[in-house]
Amino acid sequence: MDEIRAIVEAVLFAADLPVAPERLVELLKERGVDRQGIVAVLEDLREEYAQRRGGMEIRRVAGGYQFCTRPDLAAWIRRYRAGRPPALSAAALETLAVVAYRQPVTKAEIDAVRGVDAGGVLKGLLERKLIRIVGRKEVPGRPILYGTTKRFLEVFHLKDLSELPTLEEMRALRPEGEPGGGTAP
């Protein structure tokens, strides 16, 4: 394997967060590689792992590239770790959905949509770094505005916010006969 490609792979492996192509361009600038070249290397690697169908794959998420395990092997890893998947409650998911679609959004606006007080849920989402404080709304009382984080994109496997289906699409889906609670499997 040529060295550039090996360096890119090593960085992808070692990084704790998705690696943006720009950071690699910066890292490898003395090697005279441009953004296009880096993206080609990244896509090549991604293709290689996809073809190989081994334990890992490279995914595009949160504006970068990241190694992760193959989704269909999840049960084995959970069993190895003997851990349960971290559950996001239905309340947390609903609140997250409102923040994701309506951001920047105030607590009062979230409460109004859901019909319940979201205080505790918001705090949990802040602690888990799925949402963050993005400013204040310039209305009387200047309430805090919330938005989603990069971590949100990473956890939900989104390249960016535009990858979220639109609310219109959601409305078109008739949840016929589906039970109410969004409980994790």
Binding site: E94, A97, G115, R128
Partner: protein, 246 residues
Amino acid sequence: MDYEVKLEVFQGPLDLLLYLIRKNEIDIADIPIALITRQYLEHLEMMKSLNLDLAGEYLVLAATLIHIKSRMLLPEENEGEAVEGEGEDPRQELVAQLREYQAFKEAALALERRPLLERDVFKRGARIEDAVAAGGAVEEEEMEMDLFDLVAAFQRLLARLGPSGPMTVNRELLSLKRCMETIMDNLRQRGGMAFDDLFPDGRDRRKVIYTFLALLELVKMGAVKAFQTTPFGPIRVVLSGGADHG
């Protein structure tokens, strides 16, 4: 119908209402308000009898439903014309709210169906030093701080001080010094420790405070390192320079 069995935990009054609408296979745009109000109130009774915590919002919606019902019964709104007539349908606002909530509920389910990190896919598990060969000099990844961390840090500080305000420095220094020695002794014996293990007497507030302050001081002095690889993950404490791997 499986009435009792279906009593699930609802996310709020709107969720309960949506559930009733779905259960009765009703068009959301044309809710038979009398039926739904009755079933809604029955559910509240049931939840009360089960000692489920009934948030005030449930009662607010109950009042709204009853109000709409009474307006629907007013003589000028004959059945059939109610929707198209120039008089506003009293259900209109509620329907709009329900529709919106339903869309977000769908969006939440769609989020939940995505491949979730730590449930469906996993990142590299090894800590950075272990993952990077010959990388002893690679520094431990610290959490990226955001505004919430800043405020939370201040809140914790104030909570630690309690209502009595700052403690006197003399007593503190004494205890601090002793706590620092205890931590160092423990670390020398064991190499590294989980943060929580530093606080065996979790109930002794004073002791906890001093131990924590001692730890901060030791970190500041560079005698020990405390790190955390994930937000709210376990904090590990090690002696500086004493941690060699491989």
